[in-house]
Structure formats: structure tokens, C-alpha cells
Symmetry: C2
Subunit: 144 residues, 2 copies
DNA sequence: AGAAAGTTGACTGACTCACTCGGAATTGCG
DNA sequence: CGCAATTCCGAGTGAGTCAGTCAACTTTCT
């Protein structure tokens, strides 16, 4: 039940990018320095987020990265799925990456206890993370 | 955000033991066969659950494992913590195994966005798993 | 042209996961 | 007692993942 460093760094990088949304582009180095992230590792994270359509970048001098979508249209759930894969604790309860469990003795039965329990967990996680936007994340969460 | 095979097998084994609670002791082989679990791997899982005080065992012929506590006093959360460690996605929001994050730039600040978000997630997971008993698990969950 | 940035793919060392094995200790039965 | 059946325990293993690192290349600005 663990969040990888990759996702953690990715989220922290987006925190910076959100703060400068609409103002400046940020360079790897700046983000890395402000958030204490190894710069080469950060790079491949930023690239993944770019390929997924969240970021744009410009090369060369004065280059850098920018958020390409509004911070209230990006959720933590999206980001984690990009960097870590599905949120579900077991793949037979994933909605975005469902896979039938192969050797489970309940595969043929009408219902599986593990699926019931883990389905609840996955929904609880997704409910939070898919409604938690970068804006909430960077400027304080809505509730309260 | 993934449940290990170890926990999955452990939970499925306890499903069997719950069904025979107060009736018979079950042997590794029987559990392994009924739940399609590699028997030597199952063994070390059962041992861990025994050391944690959930199971008792008897050696030799006619030996086997029994649940030592009532199925409505054991929660899925307990089991997963024994086999997989803390439920929290990052250790700085764990209640059972808290660890200060070392290089986080928010460590000194009054609050950390990542902690806010992941704290919510950890609470949601724990709320479910710490109230989901083996009895619920084996015989159908309370709600509804 | 040349410096500064991003891009790409490969590489690495440490670690974890999911088992597997061998052997010792315990128990039941004849 | 002797033997078989069972649990107990520690160590080992092969594949894969995690968390970076590196070198070489392309693009852009001055």
C-alpha cells in the first residue's frame, strides 16, 4: 500500500508548477532545488507527465516546463495513475486497468470476498484522489 | 498502492480457518489446496500469523492450524499490517509506524500538502480495513 | 558558433517479491 | 521404540522493480 518516490516527486514537482501556472516556465534545476529531488530522476518524471499531456516544455536556453492544463482540471488520481499505475490494491477490482485474477478459487463463483473488501478500499481511495485537484493540493483543500 | 501476494494468500487462508473456527484444525496442505496457494510459501505466512498471536498450531500427525481468536475480533487491517507492514501510503502519515520524512522541504513548515492528501487516504483505508472483521469477510459484510 | 536547456535510451546497484529447499523438532500410531 | 506425518526455522534464489545515473543528441537563444 505504498506510494513510490516517483509519484511523490511528481506530485511535489507539480506543486511548484501549479504555483507558477500562467506566470513562468520552470526548469528542472529550479524544481529539483526547491523540492530536493535528484535532477536526472526528476527529468524522467517530467517527461512522463509531458507524454501524458499534463505538461509542455521548451528546449534550449530559457527552456523549461509549464502546466498545460488548469490546476483544477488535474487530479492527484490522474497523476498517480500515470506514474505508478492503477490505484486498486488488486487488479481484479481496478476500474481503469481491470484484469481477471487467474488462479483465484472464486473466479468462477458469483462473488469473491477479497473483491468485496478490496473493491471498497479502491473506491475509497479513488473517491479521494480523483476529486483532489492540483489546485486543492497547492492552495489548500476545499473541505473546511 | 498494491496488496502483496503474501497478504492476499494470508487473507484467503484465514477465510478457510474462519469457516472451520471452533470445529477442526486445518493443515497447510488442505488450505493450500482449497485456495491454490504454493504450500511452502503458505507455511511462512501461517507462521507469521502465529507469531502475531492470531493462530495456534500443533505439530506431528493430526497437527495443523487453528484460529485462536474469534473471527469478529480480527480485522483485515491487523492482518495486512502483520504481513505487509503499515497501511499508510507514505510513512510520515502512518499512525502505527510513523516516521518523519527526512528530506521533505515541508518538514519544518507548519503543514505539508502531501501529508494532507495522503493522510486523508490513509484514514479512508484504515477506516474500512480496521472495521472489516474476518467474520464480515467470510460470511458477508455487515452493510446492507 | 557556442552555451544552455530539454530528449532519449541504456545502464546499474540495491532491494523486494514470491517462492523453494533442507533439515530439525514434535507428535501420533503400532 | 521406530517410523511417518506434520510443523518450525533459516537460508537461498531468480526475476523483477525502484531509484537513480550517464552519455550522447537535438533544439533554442544570444
Amino acid at each position: 500500500m505504498k506510494l513510490s518516490k516517483k509519484s511523490e516527486y511528481g506530485l511535489r514537482a507539480l506543486l511548484e508548477l501549479t504555483q507558477f501556472y500562467g506566470k513562468e516556465t520552470l526548469q528542472r534545476q529550479q524544481i529539483a532545488a526547491r523540492q530536493h529531488i535528484p535532477v536526472e530522476f526528476l527529468e524522467q518524471i517530467l517527461l512522463a507527465l509531458k507524454r501524458a499531456g499534463l505538461l509542455a516544455s521548451r528546449r534550449g536556453m530559457k527552456g523549461g516546463y509549464t502546466l498545460i492544463k488548469s490546476p483544477d482540471e488535474i487530479t492527484l488520481g490522474q497523476v498517480i495513475r500515470i506514474l505508478d499505475g492503477p490505484l486498486a490494491p488488486i487488479s481484479c477490482v481496478s476500474k481503469t486497468a481491470y484484469q481477471k485474477c487467474s488462479d483465484c478459487p472464486y473466479a468462477s463463483k458469483p462473488h469473491c470476498p477479497l473483491q468485496d473488501a478490496m473493491g471498497e478500499v479502491r473506491n475509497a481511495i479513488a473517491d479521494i484522489l480523483d476529486h483532489y485537484t492540483l489546485k486543492d493540493f497547492a492552495f489548500g483543500h476545499r473541505k473546511g
